[in-house]
């Protein structure tokens, strides 16, 4: 098979069982199988329905504020002396991150299925806030599960969710971070499956979630592709996005997958450094396995137990990754790399000081790698970095690292 054919085939994935090559699928306990079959059927019907798409597009334009700009960071590019850096400004979306694209879409699905209650898991709190926001707008009951450690380090977002009317449940089991929040959300869903729609926040979980989360986020990649043609006059040379579960990255990458001249870089959380073992980089240093309903790369022990992850950013502190990324890694379409906490904090400060844009710590992983990549390229080349969220939520974390009490 030629390269071009392979890349065109990527647009058809997943297959009808939810597989991306050997990854993905639907590994859940039997109680949830019916709910997932029902969701798959609902999504199949509605995604082909022009009225549903029109409603989604209208919400994206008038509620989220799309399209988000593709901003040429001229000053930063000049200082670095390499490729021209463009930032896809998902931080300017309503609620401050790309997460709202997906929650708007899934909330519309919830509305069509008539379920009065939504639940979500959250790490940094951005997905929880985005879910609480759409629940408030649609008058749905909302429960957000959040690891107890994350509740502490993201207290601003916890309060935002409460103001929006959501119940935030701190999860004390396991490592008390995002993976445990997802376990607890799945337990809630099993128990309340008749009344509840589970709004998963990343492109992982059982089929059809990885597909529909990607599809709802792909609006940012479609916009970036058009904006690039219009503003630069051609496609970019490279795309860079951070990868925890991988929803912002797959949203940016997917509409470019067939463009074989566009290089792609997914940046995982290197924590203290991938070589230390204290990180959250399953694609760089993990092995395939099954967790949270899908087969994908995981951080795991020699006995197949999921191990604790480490990252300065709560949103990337996850031992798995969306299954489509696992496949894109294996076939070599996307390069997966890591940025460690020190590099990430440095990029956070640098963008804030040179461009007056304060990025989320998650997005700062993409900036940290994008910075190095740009310096290895020529000034007539172009890269797009997904600025997936804004950094306001991280101010207390950064102040703490600086030894300052705000």
């Amino acid at each position: 098979m030629t390269k071009a054919n392979t890349y065109a085939d990527l647009m058809q994935l997943p297959d009808d069982k939810g597989h991306f090559g050997p990854y993905g699928g639907r590994f859940v306990s039997e109680t949830l199988s019916y709910a997932l079959e029902e969701l798959e059927a609902t999504y199949k019907k509605l995604s082909a329905d022009p009225a549903f798409q029109a409603e989604f597009d209208k919400d994206l334009a008038h509620y989220v504020g799309r399209p988000s700009p593709l901003y040429h960071a001229e000053r930063w590019s000049r200082i670095l002396g390499g490729a021209q850096i463009y930032l896809k400004r998902e931080d300017l979306n309503h609620t401050g991150a790309h997460k709202i694209n997906n929650t708007i879409g899934q909330a519309l699905l919830a509305k069509y299925t008539g379920k009065p209650r939504v639940i979500a898991e959250t790490g940094a709190g951005q997905h929880g806030v985005a879910t609480a926001t759409v629940a408030a707008r649609l008058g749905l009951e909302c429960v957000v599960y959040m690891g107890a450690d994350d509740v502490k380090r993201q207290s601003l977002n916890v309060y935002r969710m409460k103001l929006l009317g959501a119940t935030v449940v701190p999860v004390e089991s396991g490592s008390r971070t995002l993976k445990d929040a997802m376990n607890e959300a799945l337990r809630d869903w099993v128990t309340n499956v008749d009344s509840t729609f589970y709004i998963i926040g990343t492109a992982a979980g059982p089929h059809p979630y990885p597909m529909l989360v990607r599809d709802f986020n792909a609006v940012s990649g479609r916009e970036a592709r058009e904006q690039s043609l219009k503003q630069i006059g051609r496609l970019p040379d490279a795309l860079v996005a951070c990868v925890g579960g991988g929803s912002n990255a797959i949203g940016l990458f997917y509409p470019f997958l067939q463009d074989s001249d566009v290089q792609m870089y997914g940046v995982e959380a290197g924590g203290d450094g991938v070589e230390t073992g204290r990180h959250a980089a399953p694609l760089c240093a993990g092995k395939p396995g099954v967790l949270h309903g899908n087969r994908t790369y995981l951080m795991q022990s020699e006995d197949g137990q999921i191990i604790e992850t480490h990252s300065v950013s709560a949103g990337l502190d996850y031992p798995g990754v969306g299954p489509e990324h696992s496949y894109l890694k294996d076939i070599g379409r996307v390069n997966y790399v890591a940025a460690n906490d020190t590099e990430v904090l440095s990029a956070f400060r640098e963008l804030t000081r040179t461009e007056g844009i304060m990025p989320a710590l998650e997005s700062s992983h993409a900036l940290a790698y994008g910075r190095k990549l740009a310096q290895s390229m020529r000034p007539d080349q172009h890269i797009i970095i997904n600025l997936s969220g804004r950094g306001d939520k991280d101010i207390l974390t950064v102040a703490g690292i600086d030894g300052i009490t705000v």
């Binding site: 069982k17 590994f27 039997e30 109680t31 008749d194 396995g289 099954v290 999921i306």
Partner: protein, 267 residues
């Protein structure tokens, strides 16, 4: 005929129903598990479900989550759980043992390696909670080649069409999950269970055992009247949790619970 089939046939002749206790392998420590398994048999267990602890037991309630945490903290591994079965088999060749858990540790070991080791240890059946039949062909085939049964779950939300498909894949017994929820949840509706179990029994010749929500002699007796067996887990694991610092008291406590159920079921 597999050891599980033999056991159900034997119970059928005696006009009795199967009592199937669950404990997590290695809870509270790996060195106690074999003794506890023998104690369960002495107290009236017909088969044993032995849990393979997992770091992220998504379908389990807090009681079994904590059991997994205790077992893993005490150094339990899948290999050690297999070794427990092997030791148990040295003195009990009659009682079927079913390993129950999640797929990832088995994937990591490799399906064939796992099946070979399970066969050698004397395992009779395997139940992986997060492996629905759509994804199960490969593991079922590998286990079947080693004459190990694959037990599948049926839930209240399972449609008749799906139940028929699952019944086709199943061997040993079908595990009917009596409620929508995680293990250890409350409130069991015996009538609804009876109706569903009767539907399943009409679909298949494989016995149907019922679990989730069975906590005492009365609920065990009620469910055993309408099914081929009852599975009891959280109530036993709770006792282990309470007594984890006094391990010598665990076997007598489990014996007491199980004997009450046995006599209520046989009455």
């Amino acid at each position: 005929m597999s050891r599980i089939e033999q056991k159900f046939a034997q119970l059928n002749e005696q006009g009795k129903k199967a009592l199937i206790p669950y404990i997590t392998g290695g809870d509270p420590k790996p060195e106690y598990s074999v003794e506890l398994m023998h104690a369960l048999v002495a107290a009236g267990a017909d088969m044993i479900e032995l849990g393979m602890p997992f770091s992220d037991p998504m379908a389990d309630g807090p009681v079994i989550q904590k059991a997994c945490e205790r077992a893993l903290a005490a150094g339990t591994t899948l290999n050690k759980v297999l070794a427990m079965v092997e030791t148990f088999r040295q003195t009990d060749t009659d009682t079927p043992v079913v390993l129950m858990g999640y797929l990832n540790p088995i994937e990591y070991m490799g399906y064939q390696n796992f099946a070979t080791a399970a066969k050698k240890a004397g395992v009779d059946g395997v139940l992986t909670v997060d492996l629905p039949p759509e994804e199960a062909d490969e593991l079922v085939a590998v286990l079947k080649a080693e004459a190990i049964d694959t037990i599948f779950l049926i839930a209240p939300t399972t449609t008749a069409l799906r139940a028929a498909k699952i019944a086709n894949h199943a061997s040993g017994y079908l595990y009917y999950v009596s409620i929508k929820g995680v293990t250890g949840s409350a409130a069991l509706d015996t009538e609804a269970v009876a109706e569903k179990v009767a539907e399943l029994q009409a679909l298949t010749s494989v016995p149907v055992a019922v679990g989730f929500g069975i906590r005492d002699g009365a609920s065990a007796a009620a469910i055993s009247k309408v099914s081929d067996g009852v599975i009891v887990g959280s109530v036993l694991v709770n006792k282990i949790a309470e007594l984890s610092e006094q391990p010598e008291k665990i076997a007598p406590a489990l014996t007491e619970v199980l004997k009450e159920m046995r006599s209520a079921m046989d009455a």
